[in-house]
Symmetry: C2
Subunit: 410 residues, 2 copies
Amino acid sequence: MKALLSRDAETMRPSPIRDLAKLAADPDIISLAGSQPSEEAFPLEEIREVLAGLVAKLPARALQYGLTKGDDELRDVALKMMARRGIEASREEVILTNGSQRALDLIGRVLIDPGDAVITEMPTYTGAIACFRNLRARLLGVPQDEDGMRIDKLERVIAKARVEGLDLKLLYLIPTFQNPSGATLSPERRKELIEIAERENLLILEDDPYSELFFDEQPPASPVASLSSDRVLYLSSFSKILAPGLRTAFLRGPQELIKIIEQAAQASDLSAGTLDQRLILELCHSGVMRRSIDNARVFYRKQRDVQLAGLEEFMPAGITWNVPRGGFFTWVKLPEAINSEALLQGAIKQGVLFVPGPHFFVDGSGSDTLRLCFSEQPAKKLRQGVASLATAVRFYDLPSTIPWALGECC
Amino acid sequence: MKALLSRDAETMRPSPIRDLAKLAADPDIISLAGSQPSEEAFPLEEIREVLAGLVAKLPARALQYGLTKGDDELRDVALKMMARRGIEASREEVILTNGSQRALDLIGRVLIDPGDAVITEMPTYTGAIACFRNLRARLLGVPQDEDGMRIDKLERVIAKARVEGLDLKLLYLIPTFQNPSGATLSPERRKELIEIAERENLLILEDDPYSELFFDEQPPASPVASLSSDRVLYLSSFSKILAPGLRTAFLRGPQELIKIIEQAAQASDLSAGTLDQRLILELCHSGVMRRSIDNARVFYRKQRDVQLAGLEEFMPAGITWNVPRGGFFTWVKLPEAINSEALLQGAIKQGVLFVPGPHFFVDGSGSDTLRLCFSEQPAKKLRQGVASLATAVRFYDLPSTIPWALGECC
């Protein structure tokens, strides 16, 4: 069998987070390792209502093969959503995919040859790391501070890559409410990014699943894609603002590139689900999505507050964390004496799971960090989980004070 | 932009059939070029009923992220369906994908490196050609006769590939009611295939979308996968027997390989649609699928009969065709004087579309063949389409008799 595998397959590894998911199935374990939206935040009753209305008039073509690019009307909805976020685009610049992960792979397929370099934030989304790694890309990480990816470090990474003769293709980032750091890229840096992309002939892939899920105020900057139509691929999805089981994301990019991505999709999945697209369309037209987003903001803010209150209450000195302004995650910094992979073993004994930092770092660093999800668990368990984690932390001898700021670590 | 594309992307081409689909949107054109199931064959009323029942009790988790492998219960249904077809398997050997096309790509990704050889029937499914070609596989075609892939020719293709030092990985075929030839591989040849796969350390990918859609009698042989559990990947789907918009296929293979395919899927789409899977499960449990298959057999047999009657009535001597025993297509052989690509231009003027043979031949041959779809059009248009095609054919000077049998051509 082994002789039959491709070189891509030889590099493939199971998702560490999906592996933790197996442990999370134990009812005695509280998982803060996940990344799913809360089912409590789904507008379930309203989805039922809209679905019931759809059933009565369900056209046969909602069950037929659909366009590879996606339903025309739903692409128009995506255009309107993007316009509200500051991005002008035309239908020909948009394709719908079976979720954002599918789009990452399609983009990777049409841009990346083995050995090509992809720049990512460090830390970044594990699913993007896995996707680009499966394509045998060379991943180059750029540290962040509280204003997102550090441009000075980016320049250094690019310069080094040029010296090494690497083929730089893509800069992947989640500029708003980043997963896992929670950081948001400042408006100035967004502009600088575009300049660098122009200068270096790079494409930027802006992954934006969370920007609608702000807690306190709107994100301080429009999407990077609002600054350039030919340098930025903009990816967003209905998964976090409606329901992920409907597996529909939208991707906007230069028309020429979208056309090639469409060709890649034709031969690798044909299209996103037709009924799913129709249902999402109805949920948008009927206003359910808009209300769902409003509710989700309130819901996840409360969740965040419970988690932060728990951290304040239970964590010993020396452990620090950010205050996420949106999204699903709190990013925690440990004193150097604590290795987050080792801590996870202790935490499991206390009945709590999290994702150790190194999974988010393309260079395997970040062992003094970890990610806590606040989207999934009910409030009581959120609090209990943090308390159990604090118990696990207390097994370590901690120095009394640790000077630390986000700017220095991630 | 061009400098940024991957080598895979440089080889990508738009689907010729999807391009014809644009012409097919003209209401004055009758398309016999498609490959979609008829919306008339969808059990629309019953789907509405089941969906309505599902709505009332819709659990939130039907909208949540699902397992990459697919819903456990639906995998069990797939196991039962396979068992009825003669294939024994366990849950760990099955994964659900966003349709069969997604499975083709996943299989290709984990098996094929650029330059590796994939053997296909000649002619074969255009979507498989596009998928493997996008992975830069070397495609080797093996002619068929009325009993399917010719084993003597296969042996010759393999011997030649070995001499050339090609890395042979996969043998892709549609052994039952083949697309486009309609041929069904004989039981003897199925056994011989397994022996060859063992001897040559090849994997067989058996694509089986149509075997339930037989018109006259059950397929004369069990799936190739019923003969070997470790040499055959078996792919089937709900698209042709229920509704393709639900985008769900099932793939059975050696557990070790399914595990790697699952890893590839984790990083390239996360999972098939959760609501779609739930709906299909209900349609199976409620008996709708079983009745849908029974109805589809009757429906498509009538469609075939209309097309064949039209061919008998209108086609001049010298044009021959097979009698499909299942599936969606009639395969037509032209006299050598007629090139099917040129004929298509004439046919368009007469208001009818078909797919010229060369699109199905990995070596670009087959210019004296074409495929007619009988699944899509209503009876009146099926007949009219064939009449218009015959008019286009009559522009050519035809010899009075052409000796021909399927065995000699495809």
